[in-house]
Amino acid sequence: MKLSVRISRRLLLPKKSLLVMKLTTLLIFIGTLQVIAKTEAQPVSLNVKNMALPEIINKIHEQTSYLFMYNDQVISNAKPISVSLKNVSIEVALNAILKDQNLTYQIEAKTIFISSKEFIEEKKIIATEPLLPPPLTDIRGKVVDKNGAAINGASIRIKGTNKGTVSNADGEFYMSVNDKNILLTISFTGYKTQEIKYIEQKNLVVVLVQELSQLDDIVVIGYGTSRRKDLTGAVSSVAVADLKKAPVASFEEALGGRVAGVQVTSQSGQPGDGFQIAIRGNNSITQANGPLYVIDGFPIEGYNNSLINPAEIESMDILKDASATAIYGARAANGVVLITTKRGKEGPPQVNYQGYVGGLEVSKKLELLNPYEFVKLQLDINNVQATAQYLTRNNRTLDDYKSIANDDIQDKIFRRAIMQSHYLNVRGGNANTKYSFSGNYFQQDGVIVNSGFKRYQINSSIDQVLSPKLKVGLNLSYTNTSSFGTLTAANEQSSADRGSGNTSPTGYLMYNILGYRPTTGSTFSYLDSLIDPDISIGLLNYSVNPYVQVTNELRENKNENNIINIYTEWAPTKFLKFRSTFGLNKVRNIQNNFNNSQTSSGNPLTSPNGILVNGSVLYSNIDNWSNENTVTYTKTFNSNHLVTVLAGVTEQGGNLNSGGFRAIQVPNESLGISGLDEGTVSSITSTSSLWTLASFLGRINYGYKSKYLLTANFRADGSSRFSNDNKWGYFPSGSFAWRFSEENFFKKALPFIKDGKLRLGYGQTGNNRVNDFSYLSVITTSAINNTYSFNNAVPGTSAVASSLGNKNLKWETTNQSNIGIDLTLFNGRLQFTTDIYNKITKDLLLNAPVNRFTGYFSILQNVGSVQNYGTEFTLNFKFIDNKDFKWNSSFNISFNRNKILTLAENQESITFSLSDRIAGSTPVSIAKIGYPIGTFYGYKWDGVYQYSDFDKLINGTYRLKSSVTTNGNSAANIQPGDIKFKDLNGDLVVNSTDNTLIGNPNPKHYGGFANNFSYKNFDLSIFFQWSYGNDIANVNRIIFEGGGEFPANLNQFKSVANRWTPQNPNTVMPRFSPGSNAIANVFSSRTIEDGSYLRLKTVSLAYNLPTKLLKRIKLKNIQFYTSAQNLITWTKYSGYDPEVSVSSNSLAPGIDFSAYPRNRTVTIGANINF
């Protein structure tokens, strides 16, 4: 009986959670069973009024030695009871209690089974044995999970009877039975129920396998967790296991298409490049739109996700609607991504190694003119010069170039690169101490020479139970990343102290690569020298050999990230839990740039202003800390009313300091960065800033029988980023969920719906993504900028007002309503979730342009509003679930529509211009009322002028008919073959008034489709991602299809071979003429392309070594796999890749200019558990 005592003590503690056990469906409808036991029988005394049955059972249990077993749901319908009993027998007491109830009981071996009367009647029909004969034999056994860890509280039943017991903390159980020939049913919440034929075994070991029922999944929500079935908000859990199959540096690379409502866009394929995650569309026009990341409970704005190794992620949940996010208040408007990293687990030490190596290559090369076509073009552009350069100099004819080797520099710049990742994790622990340690090394070379990414990471976590009421834990993480290589989508030269107005597309690496001529027209080869001697140098720097340039440039971005998190949890009673956390995140970033004499910036012939060999070092330190204190009260009243109350106070703060210098005319270039001190300092920067945030938060969850669920959230945030009058923002939200499948009428009407839930939510969230002191006007003092020399003296310090503060600045507020339905159908084989939402963001923190006569360009204001509305669908389907063959699918699709409702007063639109000479300063993207943010803006392209548009004059020249519109050039300068635009206002002149909306960068829908197959020891996973209906502005084509201002000796796209010439008039590719290029150099629908794509994004094939073999080599598990990323993309887009958006500005999505080509990756790897 000693055993029973131990059971009872443990079983008594929590009322519900620990004791939930699953019984067979035969016994009761899927539900939970409660067992209460005590050692010795005692007479029962009760004097209660309107007491709930479970409480009475508790009281009887305390007085007697009887163990109770019942199903939660069965007794949840019991009426409150009023009885007065004194020292009566257990039977009398039970009869009195259950008199008016639809319940009955049986007593067997000091266990009282309470069940519904119907059940007993049913059972009587099935099994007719009246009473069980006396016990014959004892069953002893142990229940463990697949790792061998004991399962405490598993239910062990004899099939076809009400007889059973539960396992203890060591997983052991004991039962006496009256039959040797029985079937045992062993079940435990979250595990697959097992049936075992009992044959007299001394030590029966039952291994239970975890069952992934989504309903009981624990979902991480803000400041707590919830069972999925109790959720009232829109929360998506990311299938982390699937995510990890992608061989990528950071999880965002794999996240796209995995979660409904989450759109991931990347700037380009640059290693370590940034990703933009937009949850349910962009709210903000000029401010950041990324979600708030909460890593292990620590909220971090603007988190750099390449700092976290995907293998380290235990779970990732994305909060999408206001009721889910409002607990994060002022920073939650763009959604919240909650990431939990691996922690220790109870059990013997587990050692896990995951590693892979692989290769990558560019997924596409762009077609450029070959030498013959190129020289032909040069002869068209400037016959005299090109004849001298390409024909007479070497005694060649044009046709000779047909046989001359094509020096496509893409072949030299792009390479097959290597990537590898190694990850080692050790974790384990006992009931009191749990630990996890891991290390990661990741390295990826870029497909462009001299670029790549590296990461080292060490993580550790310890959880320690100090006393039954007190628990503490610690998390330490150190990450070191470095990415290097020229940023292709940044203008290198405009950043190198060039004067204003001198910016030019030639400062971009991909421009130089694509524009590099395929032949010199001579015997000399320039491929190994920096400067092409045939091309005039100056601002037009396409004479620079990009290969030499890129291999000599040092562009290094190093990050060190330290995270320290500690927590204390104190549960003074079983209802109450205090939790206090303190977190510190230190980020140190260093950027090293060095341009030696073999770079355009450092070479004496091309270096502007004699800067010569130069370099810079920039560092920044960001320290963020947070302290959060919450109290959670959870109690079930009358067994039907579950109430959880959360309240908390948090404080956060951060400070940043950065600095650095740039040195020019560095004498010893061989010393690199270390030699900068020998040069002349050209600029020094030093900045610092700080912010604080204080918050009060609260949440009430109320659930009635897990059928009606209510959540109310409230958060008050005070931020230092606003003036005294506007520091505080208040963010309430509420939601309601109805599990209609729990209604009896519903169960009867639609029995195939296993679970169904309707969710309604509404709430407000905020956005405070402004600079720390945006509300203040700034006086900038400088001895370098904005200053002036008097009397030839070195310019003194200047002081100018550089930005205008706005004391009225306040939070941006997003109101979001959400309706969602969750369905589980066909015995859990199909899960379906849909959400419809409507978000209206008002008081936009808008860096609104103002009249420049104010002396300023823009003022940050709370003006305008933006709407995002849409719907999302997620389907998970288990097609086949056999022992040997399994096939699961998941599919999601999202539709989001974005619309600007209002802007600043009198403002119809905000435009965005590419600052370079591409398309001049005319806008390319526009935020216009009634249309989505970032709509493309420009001329409607109308082909080219044909002879029919002209009058032929007597002298043989062509003059544009007066009835035909001009194209921006004067009529006299327009010739057949010139580019033509639509004249929208009918004034026969194409000018800025003919600009119109020419494309939408936002997809009509996007989503993903994942399939996991497993056959015996093989696992295959195939994942498709798509985006449909979005446009891309292919700005490369403006330049490389004749729009460049200076096309001589600049190579062009292959399509240019089909340009208009008198011999080839049936084409829409404009002719080449220096005078008409400036006109072609505008933004028009010609270069807007359909960016829809379907991508076979991740394919992974794994083989698990058979168990037998594993036993022999004494390993728990080995998996070998091969996986591939970005394998095939189906798209009409003509650029490198349709997943591109080089500008990080929210206002200018979908622009492709000089983007780093995306790569295709194939890896092989192993996953070993020791």
Partner: protein, 611 residues
């Protein structure tokens, strides 16, 4: 005990609430705000530098103001593509918007400084001087705005909130009134230029000279306030009689000084100063004078020039003959011989190459001159920038403005004529002396088998040369090949070589008045008016005065269109494109458009006619 625990927690909560207010009160650590600045004299001086700074912007005197904004008949941007520089302006033009922005940033900085001018406790005289500069500069920015954009928003207080953007355009009349008021006050408190000792800051006479310019603008189109001629003359008088200024004797030296960062405060009343050329120091706002203009050059050691700005044939023709020294200084008569690969920058090759003189017919091929990068003293030279200061106003301009005002007020008086002639005489080198006018052969000598060398001796001048023609042992003709300059007395002539002897010759020098306006030019008010207009072009070309001059005289459009048709008729075929640049000028081009982006933000702003 349990209750005690709760109490502690409650207390902690309360403490954190009460400390919240302080906790959220952060103070910026790396910048100052207008409220915390302007505490002493050096703060005000720093703010003043910020106001001056806007003059150095790319669209302003660094480059744009005398290149793309100049758009007149004296020079053109050498490009066949349509762009601002070729007078192809659109309402979205970046340069048009840039200049607007620069001026208003200057105004905003001046407004903020003037609002805080009385904040520090400091020397009152120093305060007055700073105030004078700020007032003047604000007015000067408005002057640029009013002549280029017409009616403009008149903002005399700094921007404080978004509400301050809600203003419309003020009629030019009122803008001018404010300019006169501010400059008028400034000139009373500004220091004398001799006190300053340099011209990079605005002095009393500089302000007065600009006031004269403003008054002439007001007297011309579009305002046509004829009473302002008298004011203009009065301001000119103030400068002329101040005793501070006089004409420099040597015309080229004015500009060589500017290339070499030397001040001539007698001639140049106000210059925009540029410090360094961007090499060896972190200052990026250096000039592009000589880089955008000047003779094309790819040599780093001579100083690279892209020669984007080229002189028109019309300007060339305005000079009567080569004895006007300004011709071959302002329009470069030679070019650098380029190495084999044109445009290839080199450090050495060109250094040994000579300058090659253009033939008299190669007028269109010529480059602009005036500021020659080879004159720059600062080395190493930059490929992109020069240290050359830009002269906003010179004493020659004051004299010509005086002449113009006097002629309009009183007709062709001798005072008006004399003022023009002063400028002309300097242009002809007369302030340094005379030129050789004629050589008379006294004795032809005997025995000359070859032409002897003609040697000029004494006379105080230099440069004169002549060639002798020998026939029958005698010198029959002496041809002046260079008239020299700077002779105070006639030099004597001797002959060396040639095998003969006995030849003599005497020299007569030109008279000072040779350079003067001709009788026909001074015959009437209207002939003198035309003479003054041409003289301004000859004297002040490329100094950003021509376009505003043509506009206020009301002849801008017709002048440009006339030039376009002349070019179409007479220019060599490879320069015919310049006719487009002139022909792009229509009636609406008298003003730039108000930037479209400004109008889009503010319906109170209207667009200029025709845009």
């Amino acid at each position: 005990m349990k209750k005690y625990n709760y109490l502690i927690l409650l207390l902690l909560l309360l403490v954190s609430i009460t400390s919240c207010k302080k906790f959220l009160q952060t103070v910026p650590t790396d910048f100052l705000t207008p409220e915390t600045y302007f505490n002493n004299q050096s703060d005000l001086e720093a703010a003043l530098r910020g106001v001056y700074d806007r003059l150095q912007q790319y669209e302003m005197y660094q480059d744009g103001w005398w290149s793309r904004a100049s758009g007149s008949d004296e020079q053109y941007w050498n490009a066949t593509t349509q762009r601002t520089e070729t007078n192809f302006v659109t309402i979205n033009d970046a340069n048009v918007r840039g200049a607007w922005t620069d001026c208003y940033q200057g105004i905003e900085r001046a407004n903020l400084l003037l609002e805080n001018i009385n904040k520090p406790v400091m020397d009152e005289q120093a305060r007055a001087q700073i105030k004078g500069q700020a007032l003047f500069l604000r007015a000067y920015f408005y002057y640029i705005l009013v002549i280029y954009y017409g009616d403009v928003p008149l903002k005399l207080a700094s921007t404080k909130t978004f509400q301050d953007t809600k203003i419309g355009r003020t009629p030019i009349k009122d803008v001018y009134a404010q300019i006169l008021k501010d400059m008028g006050e400034a000139q009373t408190i500004l220091p004398r230029i001799s006190t300053l000792g340099f011209n990079g800051k605005v002095s009393k006479t500089a302000a007065q000279a600009i006031l004269a310019r403003v008054c002439l603008s007001m007297a011309g189109q579009p305002l046509m306030d004829l009473t302002k001629y008298q004011d203009a003359e009065n301001w000119c008088d103030s400068v002329i009689f101040s005793g501070e200024h006089s004409l420099a004797k040597n015309y080229p030296q004015i500009f060589i000084n500017q290339c070499q960062d030397k001040y001539d405060i007698k001639e140049c009343l106000w210059e925009v100063e540029f410090y360094g050329n961007g090499i060896g120091n972190p200052y990026s706002e250096s000039s592009r004078i000589g880089v955008t203009s000047g003779p094309a050059c790819s040599s780093i050691s001579y100083g690279t020039s892209f020669a984007n700005m080229r002189p028109t044939e019309k300007l060339y023709r305005l000079y009567a003959d080569t004895t006007d020294f300004r011709l071959n200084w302002n329009i470069c008569p030679w070019y650098y011989r380029n190495p084999a690969n044109p445009g290839y920058l080199t450090t050495g090759a060109i250094d040994t190459a000579p300058k090659i003189t253009r033939t008299p017919t190669q007028i269109w091929d010529r480059y602009t001159g005036k500021w020659y990068r080879e004159q720059e003293a600062l080395t190493p030279k930059s490929q992109q920038n020069s240290p050359t200061n830009f002269p906003v106003i010179r004493y020659a301009d004051v004299l010509l403005m005086f002449a113009e005002a006097e002629n309009e007020l009183n007709g062709n008086t001798s005072a008006a004529i004399d003022a023009v002639n002063q400028v002309r005489r300097r242009g002809y080198g007369k302030l340094e002396g005379q030129l050789v006018s004629t050589i008379t052969i006294g004795s032809q000598g005997t025995g000359y088998t070859t032409a002897p060398t003609v040697v000029f001796n004494g006379g105080g001048g230099k440069g004169a040369s002549a060639a002798a023609t020998v026939s029958g042992g005698k010198i029959t003709v002496l041809t002046i090949t260079n008239k020299g300059y700077g002779y105070s007395t006639p030099p004597t002539i001797s002959f060396t070589g040639g095998g003969g002897s006995g030849a003599t010759a005497t020299v007569t020098l030109t008279a000072t008045t040779d350079a003067d306006l001709s009788a026909a030019q001074v015959a009437s008010q209207s002939t003198l008016r035309n003479a003054i207009r041409d003289e301004r072009a000859r004297e002040l070309c490329y100094e950003a005065t021509r376009k505003p001059d043509l506009i206020r005289w009301g002849i801008y459009v017709q002048t440009m269109q006339q030039m376009a048709s002349d070019i179409n008729a007479t220019a060599p075929s490879n320069y015919k494109f310049v006719s487009t640049i002139a022909g792009n000028i229509q009636e609406r081009n008298k003003l730039w458009p108000i930037p479209a982006s400004e109008i889009a933000l503010n319906p109170m702003l209207t667009q200029n006619p025709g845009w």
